[in-house]
Amino acid sequence: MDIIRINMGASGGPKVSVVPSGEYAGLGGRALTSSVISKEVPPLCHPLSEDNKLVIAPGLLSGTSAAMSGRISVGFKGPLTGTIKESNSGGQPSQVLARLGYAAIILEGKSKGNNLYKVFINKDGVKITPDNSLKLLGNYALVEKMKGEYGDKISCISIGPAGEMKMSAASIAFTDMEMRPTRHAGRGGGGAVMGSKGVKVIVLDDTGLKNRVPKDPEKFTQANKAWVDGLKKHPVTGEGLPAYGTNILANVINEAGAYPTNNFLLGRFPGTSKISGETEAELEKARGGNPTHGCHRGCVIQCSGIYMDKDGKYLTKQPEYETVWAHGANCGIDDLDAIAMMDRLDDDYGIDTIEMGATIGVAMEAGLAKFGDADAAIRLIKEVGKGTDLGRILGNGAAVTGKVFGVERVPVVKSQSMPAYDPRAVQGIGVTYATSTMGADHTAGYAVATNILKVGGYVDPLKPEGQVELSRNLQIATAAIDSTGMCLFIAFAVLDQPETFQALLDLLNTFYGLNLTGNDVTELGKKVLKMERDFNARAGFTAKHDRLPEYFKKESLPPHNVTFQVTDEDLDSVHNW
């Protein structure tokens, strides 16, 4: 597979080169993005400078007929965090880009002048042209325009106004199966980097191309069947997620007292049943929407959905657990329609919903709005989209907003907002928030088969260092899975069913003609994490940055009245292997 490099700052205008993968051959997804960023981006560069790069890479199995292989990784130095970032998304572009034969698109340099560019990639090659009529278009209007120009068989990777304005909470949108810009590489400000390069949209068209062919087609098909069977028979991937989506978590996390409420003040929200996944699914069905829907072709878990408004018209994709929490409980809001509207605005402006919700929570604590005021929350998001002075503050995330308005209680690590689990109630997640290379990140340490985690020695989880060891192993395993292009929700089925984990290994081995084992997967994950840690160290990050905000150690969280108790020494040992 080749790599497309686009030098946006070349003299005479942006220059496209299609080059062999070279030293990056055999890598995909996060392994590829982190390799490029750690090798080619000076760690001390300004994230919006010509020295930063934006790497968009499908996974190792993307573009094949393997189920669940549609995730795409976006790598960059983060404007929000200053660390290396890998931001991950679903949608169609991963499959399409891989079928077009590319391991990655790398945007580098910085365009001179004020032109905004669109990139078109099909089987005939790559074209980049200026198109200033796209300036400040929302993602929805932009995609409609691209459909008008290039037809309805395309996929789009785009930024909204937030990315053009280079806001640190800006996301990159990826179109779904219905060609709506509803899937996002949200975290860390990738949209701002794309905006700083002057690229508004990348249009992909794989018309005339087929799925990538495995080395052993017959065994690959068998492995895929075992893979799909395993996913479908597991109650999480085969029943819970399809029926209720990720917001199936709301009631459970709330019951655990870990559902951050009113800017992480409380662990339970009284209005949870009004915004739960169960209630959301029933509302969608009653209005003619669909709570069981895949974000990319080949997804058999189908945790996504379609949300209609009161009049039965399409409003947005089914808001995810994180979005419902961020704009809901964290802001004291229990109105699903208001939350869905905020999700629509976030998608259109191109903003990370987690960062936006956490930022509104901080803004509410600052007195800009009352907790529970949904209309005020919607107005604040619209300020971001318009790029007003207030909007530019909010669009740069919770840490900046907290600083500007003098708020102490800002729930961030390395300037990235915490997601929807309070670390005081679930301390192990706090370990991952603190020590992840990405900033506060709930997907950085995921569950995989216990046989992976026992490779290299088994640690008694009841010992004090058990939580640290678990977090370390989970981060390693996640880094490996992020490199395959597989959706992380495979994790539970893989955890419970060794034969399903074996099916994943068989997919990789029969496609590439390899003999990977669980050990190899672990080693890949370790390699990726080491690269990321090294980059962050060279960027100036030390152990002092692997900490939660102090108030999590002092302020008790109701209802369990717990504080974060993992010691700094334990946090510092996470990455000792």
Partner: protein
């Protein structure tokens, strides 16, 4: 039960005995009770027993169902790992869920490998059979158990606050008007519209919901 007319023409039923309401509805109306079941309802029975004993011997769930389908359990907000030693006190809250996705789901899972990551909030009680007595438990149902076991609880009967039950009916009054058959209140039959206009006052009611 005694009947009294208020000055506004509404009928008030005053009762010193528990109020028993039984509805027969179309199956499509069962989701209307979803938030009631998520927020919790009371079951009266024997407490001081283990979670497993309560669910299998008193409620009638099979041990296989409990093992395979209810993989996340909270007792008074604390994740339970051992259903044979976790004991129900009078007035306890018992929440039932399927296995959950993601890292948090794996951590909260009953007896899961990642349970140490939430050790500070885990349930650590033990069985004491000597304290068994009559009492009540607040049961909350989420996701798959809500779908699968919710109708069973509704059929057998649950105790709920009357104003919360009224809210359920009012929120979808037109649907209930169309899809609700007989309404029995303390053994007396009412038309749905008449029933909806009644003023039941405060307090708990024993609610049974059957489907046609």
């Amino acid at each position: 039960m005694t009947r009294r007319e208020k000055s506004n023409g509404k009928t008030i039923f005053q009762s010193t005995s528990p109020r028993h309401i039984s509805l027969t509805v179309e199956a499509s109306l069962l989701p209307a009770f979803s938030q009631l079941l998520q927020n919790g309802f009371w079951i009266k029975g024997t407490v001081g027993c283990s979670v497993k004993s309560f669910l299998c011997e008193q409620i009638g769930l099979s041990p296989e169902y409990l093992e395979k389908r209810i993989q996340t359990i909270f007792l008074d907000g604390q994740p339970v790992d051992n259903v044979e030693t976790a004991t129900l006190r009078d007035g306890a809250t018992l929440s039932l869920s399927a296995a959950m996705p993601g890292l948090a789901g794996a951590i909260l899972r009953r007896g899961g490998y990642y349970a140490p990551m939430r050790d500070q909030i885990s349930f650590k009680g033990e069985t004491t059979s000597a304290s068994m007595q009559s009492g009540k438990v607040l049961v909350k149902l989420f996701n798959i158990p809500l779908q699968e076991v919710g109708p069973i609880f509704l059929r057998h009967g649950i105790w709920v606050e009357s104003d919360k039950f009224k809210d359920v009916l009012k929120a979808r009054a037109d649907d209930f008007q169309r899809g609700c058959g007989d309404v029995l209140a303390d053994g007396r039959q009412f038309e749905f519209k008449q029933f909806l206009e009644m003023d039941w006052g405060m307090g708990d009611i024993f609610l049974q919901v059957k489907t046609v």
